[in-house]
Amino acid sequence: MNDHRSVSIVMIEDDEGHARLIEKNIRRAGILNDIRHFTDGHSALDFLYNSPQGPALNGPALVLLDLNLPDMSGTDILARIKDDASPLKRTPVVVLTTTDDKVEIQRCYDLGCNVYITKPVNYENFAQAIRQLGLFLSVIQVPEVDG
């Protein structure tokens, strides 16, 4: 359990309600990892790259990313994280958004997103998806950041 706890979850989500629901369901799945929530892209990027507690400087992390943010596009954040020169390029990114647009999904996978989940309006499905994500989190091995 200690192992998993060391992986912190960075949630970049502008909708407080969604963030709350996601967190609730992750907790219900039995995942106790630390969850850091950011509602805009800039503060999230700042944390990811520059904060002493952030994954670039301290330990592995998993990013939950919403594509529609008030200050910048989620795909830009994804591109920054997955860039070849980025220290976080091996950090798993789960895109969690309302758009099920095929082009958008393809673009995310092309940029290197690991999982793409559409937020269903149907809450049972949503809860199910998040819980399964929690199970997924409990078994994946998150790589250490290269330097």
Partner: protein, 504 residues
Amino acid sequence: MVRASNVFVGDRGRRTRRLLIAFTIFGFLSLICAVIAAGWAIGQTRDYTFWVNHTYKVEQAIADFRVAAERAETARRGYLVNAQPRFRMNYDQAASTLEPALDRLAGLISDNRAEVARVGVLRNGLAELQQRRARTIALVDANRMGDAIRVFREDGSGALMDRMRTVAKDMAVAERALLAQRDADQQSIFLTFEIVLGVAAAALLLVIVLTALTMMRYVRDLSSTSERLADLNESLEDAVNERTADLTRANEEIQRFAYIISHDLRAPLVNVMGFTAELDAAAHSVRELIDHAEKIAPNIVTEEARLAAREDLPEAIGFIRTSTQKMDVLINAILKLSREGRRVLAPELIDTDALVGKIGETLQHRLDERDAELIVKHPLPEIVSDRLAVDQILSNVIDNAIKYLQPDRPGRIVVSGRIEGIRAIFEVEDNGRGIDPRDHARVFDLFRRSGPQDQPGEGIGLAHVRALVYRLGGVIDVTSELGSGASFRISLPQTLIKAQDDRK
């Protein structure tokens, strides 16, 4: 302004063309007049020559007759004075030519009544004269010279001869007068001819000048028009490019709008649904608490609290849920429509017979359920279009026909097609419950339906069909009477030309 100048040029050109045609016709008419006048003048001249000739012949004939008459008289007198056979021979010879000479004259003047009468006088005179001469000649032949001379003196043949001379002279004079008359006629004919010729020449000259002027003006107009046309062409191309850019921008705007709808409307819905579920779970706990409290201490549970937990909360949560679900369906429908507009069309040759056959197979179980049959009138026209779009259009329309069949009669759905010019027309006809004419435009609108709402559906199908048909450059309309079936008519271009905004 563009249109006005076009009209002006067209009007001007038409007027010029009309003027030119009028001038040409006028010129030709003048020429024809001149030619006719020339022909007429030549004919008249020929007649004139003929009649001049005739006059001379008549004069000649009169002269011949007179000479013969004089010769005969001279010979007779010679014979009377000196009964030599030479004179007798001369007389016979001259006398024998008299009759033919008179005949020839008669033949020549047979058309002139006055002259014919004179010839008659001559002929009678000649007969009388010949008779008298013959008597004197016979007396000389019998050597009765005295008797002969007496008879000669008494028979008045000299006076007769004088009378005949006068008649012959009259004839010659009359003929001369005729000739003079014809001469005058000829002069007037020439005058007329010259006048006609002069007028025609003047007219032709006028036509040539006017035509040249008109042509020059026309050519000038034409060159200025072509210059203007070139200008217009250039600006037209600009205008088309501008419009295309506008359209593309508008289309992109719609795509962005759809994206915003999909995200921004769904995001709050996720919250509403999520927290409703949380609320439901919480309400469940509250209900359990109420149940528990009722058992342990019924006096602390108010009627109000019990109703709230058992009825008001579940009811409110139920309504919120169904409404959000409905809203989700609507948003998805809008999304589907807008996404259809973004799909890149891939035109290919479509065997519509096979396509409709496949649709029929897919819908077979539904046809069986409704006791209906699908009749395809082969062959349907082949078209070059986007297969998926055409498939969806026809599937939706046929599916709709099955959906709204009249339950009390066996269903009959007929699919037919034909070519009209460069368009292919497909018709799907059913004997179902029909659509109220008031709703004909409405059924193609999103979320609008017609008639009793006894069938599942959100009012998306036909809106989707119409969007697809428009996308393929076609039109769709419906003719129907309530209760007697409906006929959907889809007109598509035979060959789909990819629009510019299809580029990615």
